[in-house]
Symmetry: C2
Subunit: 710 residues, 2 copies
């Protein structure tokens, strides 16, 4: 259903226009105004100013800016209300309900046209710039986008530093006014990083106002455009868009007709509404693929954590430099620590088969790891040639015999020309060898040199890889790529991304204990994260005596992450030998679903805690997860989301008394209860802890025998 | 035959070393000296200083320079004398005869090793740097190569401005001291250009000393390294290497073991020796291809000059902007000037078949020409999709029926990521449609932006394309690519390059009349040029009334260029309708060979005239060509190169009396004579003129009837 109305203002010159748009439920009000011929907008939630009057426009290269001297040509409004079903997701069906206003502008001094399209949903705003086909503006280069987001006060922000190459930072929680002073500390080392030269932060940015409004700023449908950061005027609490530059310092190469990505403002009095918002997905286009039957959520293990901790190595030898196609690895002494060897991978396949995992990721299988990043090495990886101790065919056949696939790994070291040169053959190699999912990586500085991970060049590349992969029915999980903006709706084989500080950092010095209470409010607003949870051995030195890192979590919370960190791709990241010591807790990882009919937020406060309940797709089973910050907290939930006519068995995996992420992380309890929609739970959570619950419909009476009611 | 001797200086510290090397004939002497621990070299021809004492070394990024504090570890000498046969070329067999000296150096302050290998031939010097495998130097970035070429006087130079993106400049002839003052004038506009910020010129650079020594500076085997320019200290007549930077200003990304390209100094008292030198080829590696049977010289015509002159268009429509894959060309009005249409191409095929041309180049066949350069447009061309009026299959079949192939055209507009993404499919498309040669183009600024046509990134790309093409048995003729450095020896499917100001500029305002008397001394030192001669209508306005350009040549000289501008790829560039008016002169283009057993220079003076005689491969036929500058000159040659026991018919295509490149360019005479090895010719050449001679063995007496002796 689409209701359209157009108001035309032709040939009349006004000096100030003001247009209002309300959200379908009337809670939000958007005001667009040409103030002294400068386009501005502001956003209200009820009486609250979410965005104060903020300017819109662009600086262009070698031509007059698109910032002022505008007249309004027309305003068109429309209403949309429909629903759609994602290929995979947190909800079976997603409602797309908004009121729209398209403001057509003309810059009188140049006769160039620029339109702004606003979509106001019941949970927030999306808007984008549209450059229609016109004689006066066809090819142009954006020097900077000048979209403002003026905050109404000195809000609390959950932020990471703006950077053209990495999002792998711990979150800092502070007032807006404190951000500049805290920036230096927040910028921790990374294999590739280019912090903004001005104080700035990344999106999705989570904010909370003094009077309890939650605000989230992000973007949707980032295609053929640089990723946006938010530069901060900390005196006036005004954010302004700051695009990622290319090697020449230019920001965006445009050819009209073309639209920018959407800029999004989600806001609510309830933190949980931010987590449940579908604005990002709704502002993306429907799936481009006619057939999506080959796209399926995946639960996997991997030859991975042992390299991350330093117990094993990706490289086959210890020589410092190799030349692909010239170095004869069969003649070199192996270093004895190379994990991606046939024998070990078979053991992983056995473990996967025993416990019902579909795939085994193997990193370090292909030649090139000896000098894989930090060398600006162009031909750094060969995506077809294994090390001598990795037998592709034998493992393919062994996997087939066990019903387990290997998951491909394509580390590029940022050398994307090299990757693209191999891409067709590399995906064909996957098809030939029974792989259907690839984890790609972009560690290190980008080659072509001077380009950035989040610039237009790379934004184009990531999507090119996803579309190429689709032609081979391959699912993609890109690490170190640009943060997602809901593109998995359009390209549902993009089943995962990293684009934030994941579990690996627990072996690189640790993540902050509240990290996973923030990520769903920030990174996950754009799409799922391959966070790789499931670490059962927090003491990393148990694997590598030279690594004193500590995983800041209890085991119970690790289980919760499979529910709180939504992803259709879930890894059990720890070593099989460790899971074998805790098979009771491991049972939750085996049981938990990957795809959902329904998602509820039971409790949420960014930086403190999040409790989700999710109903498994096509079943009556529910799973609950709770992630906690560094404080001991009591979680109070009730089970009124359950079907009234059903009885369930709830298995609660919780922190034991005295559990503590530093002092006693492995102390957990597992208890079973009989639950119905009337059940309630008061569950203590340890510092750095949490809990997980599986809620399985009791279809046989005897299943309930001896179980207490909750 | 390789004779090797090694002198070792171990553990001894000297403050000055001096090593001498002589050429096999003893004419050249090279002196290497560590002067105050700084590596230097000088070169003598007899008593003449060709290169005065000149420094060697590098500035590196983020580490100590490799310029001083060296000790000599060892000197190894060797002699090589062998011969090899090129797949195609100016000679059937090429002798590779040199004395070699390898100086192994150690920088005492850093313990880094750098070797310098000198090869001294009877016609000049080649030397390169070699970085052996070592712990102290593996990955490094060259900030600048600091190789000096100190001239012994204020020589006359035939030069074009140093530029990272184009060589398409007219030559300036001046003293070295005059170069800085003339630079501004010499830098004429180009679609992509980045002149050096310091006074500098390009190689191959041709020089002549006051006492009549000819010197040529160039490089050989440019692989995975930036192209070298020569920066000039015009007060001291010292050239210094200036490498093409990347987007970050870096010059070369190196991984030891690795060698630089060779730096070459060819010198002689005879200008012709410069033209006949094989140093550039000899310093390249032998062919990498086991099977070269698919590589064959090609004589072709093309749907080309009518676009160059502006008579026709590459683009199918006149709309200013298209989006490939979105724009529906079948629904757009054709501009009526699109030359690459099925009907016209069939006519070209007919003409080719009638006159024995193997191929017809067709430019403008594929979608994207509407906005093809100057827009920094990434997805600018589709290399698979023809315009609606170009029927690939019909033309393939029509060509087959006539024994004529189409020649593929891949204009990239410098957007090389886009080209590489298409490359596999584009070459496969060629195989599928009976193409075996491609003319590629790189007009406009390079994308990735900030990279240059002559930087390491692009040097890598050009070779990647050649090797990819070889896998499809495709021959490559790359325009706007880096100037050749003899790589066609190693990759003989690189059958052509432009990389200089070709005939097209005759329709863009004209080339200087002496242009083709210089190119063989400069551009052609590195390899053949697709100069596209054969223009019979010097008045461009005859094709396009809006184009007042004038081709600065007589028709007779156009014929000579097929001999003087060596190339295994020769085009007859003018329109069939024009050739049909001059079929008598056109006969020479039909007759002239493409591949040679023997090449002689009969007369030569850079900037004034060149006369070549070449013997056709596998036949007794000879062809002579003479190109003249803007002055009327008398050419005097004798035919003592002919077999003593044979009689030949010489057909002389010469300027008519009163011919003149401006006033009377079309006036030519064609005369036949009986010639033997005793014959002599005194042939006047018009200003901007020249002549061509075909010398065919008379196998039947009656062929000679009525022919005068010469």
């Amino acid at each position: 259903m689409r209701i359209l109305s157009i108001l035309l203002f032709l040939g009349i010159t006004f000096f100030s226009y003001s247009q209002e748009l309300k959200s379908p439920n009337g809670d939000f009000k958007l005001v667009f105004e040409l103030e002294n011929r400068v386009p501005t907008y502001e956003l209200f939630l009820g009486e609250q100013h979410i965005i104060k009057k903020s300017k819109l426009g662009f600086e262009l290269k070698d031509q007059e800016a698109l910032l002022e001297n505008f007249e309004q040509l027309s305003v068109a409004t429309a209403t949309e209300d429909n629903s759609w079903e994602p290929v995979w997701g947190e909800q079976k069906s997603i409602r797309n309900h908004y009121n729209e206003m398209l403001v057509a502008l003309n810059q009188t001094t140049t006769n160039r046209k620029m339109n702004i399209r606003f979509r106001l949903f019941d949970d927030g705003l999306g808007f984008r710039y549209e450059f229609p086909s016109q004689d006066e503006l066809t090819y142009f280069v954006i020097q900077e986008e000048k979209t403002q987001f003026a905050m109404a006060g000195d809000h609390t922000a959950f932020w990471i530093p703006g950077d053209y190459d990495t999002q792998e930072y711990d979150y800092t929680t502070s007032k807006l006014s404190e951000i500049p002073g805290l920036m230096q500390t927040a910028i921790t080392p990374n294999a590739s990083q280019s912090p903004l030269s001005v104080p700035g932060v990344q999106t999705a940015l989570m904010l909370k106002t003094a009077n309890g409004i939650y605000i989230n700023l992000h973007e949707a449908a980032l295609v053929e455009y640089p990723c946006m950061h938010l530069q901060l005027d900390a005196n006036n609490y005004v954010f302004e868009s700051h695009l990622t530059p290319d090697a020449l310092g230019n920001k965006g190469y445009m050819q009209a007709p073309r639209n920018t990505p959407w800029r999004t403002v989600i806001a609510s009095k309830n933190a949980g509404d931010i987590l449940l918002s579908n604005i990002t997905l709704n502002l993306n286009e429907p799936s481009k693929y006619a057939d999506t039957s080959w796209i399926k959520p995946v639960k996997y293990i991997g030859v991975w954590w042992e390299m991350i901790t330093g117990k094993s190595s990706w490289a086959y030898t210890d020589i410092p430099s190799v030349k692909l196609g010239e170095t004869d690895f069969t003649s070199l002494p192996p270093n004895g620590k190379h994990a991606a060897n046939t024998k070990k991978v078979k053991e992983y396949i056995d473990f996967a088969a025993t416990h019902g995992f579909e795939q085994v990721l193997v990193e370090g299988w292909n030649q090139g790891w000896e000098d894989w990043f930090g060398k600006s090495k162009d031909f750094v990886f060969d995506f077809l040639t294994p090390y001598p101790d990795f037998d592709v065919v034998a493992l393919r056949e062994y996997g087939k015999s066990k019903g387990v696939r290997l998951m491909m790994h394509h580390e590029t070291s940022g050398s994307v020309r090299n990757y693209e040169r191999f891409m067709d053959d590399a995906y064909q190699f996957m098809e030939d060898n029974n792989y259907n999912a690839v984890k790609s990586g972009y560690v290190g500085d980008i080659i072509p040199r001077g380009e950035h991970h989040y610039g237009q060049w790379m934004v184009n590349h990531y999507l090119y890889a996803v579309e190429k992969a689709a032609a081979h029915k391959v699912m993609v999980n890109a690490h170190e790529a640009v943060r997602p903006t809901g593109l998995s709706r359009t390209y549902p084989n993009l089943i995962g991304n990293e684009s934030a500080r994941g579990t690996e950092y627990e072996a690189f010095g640790g993540n902050k204990p509240d990290h996973t209470t923030i990520l769903p409010f920030t990174r996950l607003v754009g799409g799922p994260m391959d966070y790789t949870p499931g670490i059962f051995e927090p003491d990393v030195s148990q694997y590598n005596p030279n690594n004193n890192s500590w995983v800041n979590t209890t085991i119970a919370r690790q289980l919760a992450l499979y529910v709180t960190m939504y992803s259709p791709l879930q890894m059990a990241a720890d070593l099989p030998e460790t899971y074998n010591k805790h098979l009771d807790a491991f049972q939750f990882i085996k049981d938990v679903a990957l795809d959902w009919d329904k998602t509820l937020v039971l409790e949420a406060e960014p930086g403190d805690f999040i409790t989700y309940a999710r109903k498994e797709k096509g079943s009556n089973n529910w799973f609950v997860g709770r992630t906690n910050d560094e404080e001991a907290r009591l979680s109070t939930i009730n089970f009124n989301f359950l079907d009234k006519d059903k009885t369930y068995i709830a298995t609660i995996y919780s922190d034991a008394k005295n559990a503590h992420y530093k002092k006693n992380p492995k102390a957990y309890n597992i208890k079973k209860f009989r639950v119905t929609h009337k059940s309630k739970l008061k569950q203590p959570c340890a510092p750095g802890g949490g809990y997980a619950i599986s809620i399985i419909e009791a279809t046989q009476k005897q299943d309930l025998k001896g179980l207490k009611r909750l």
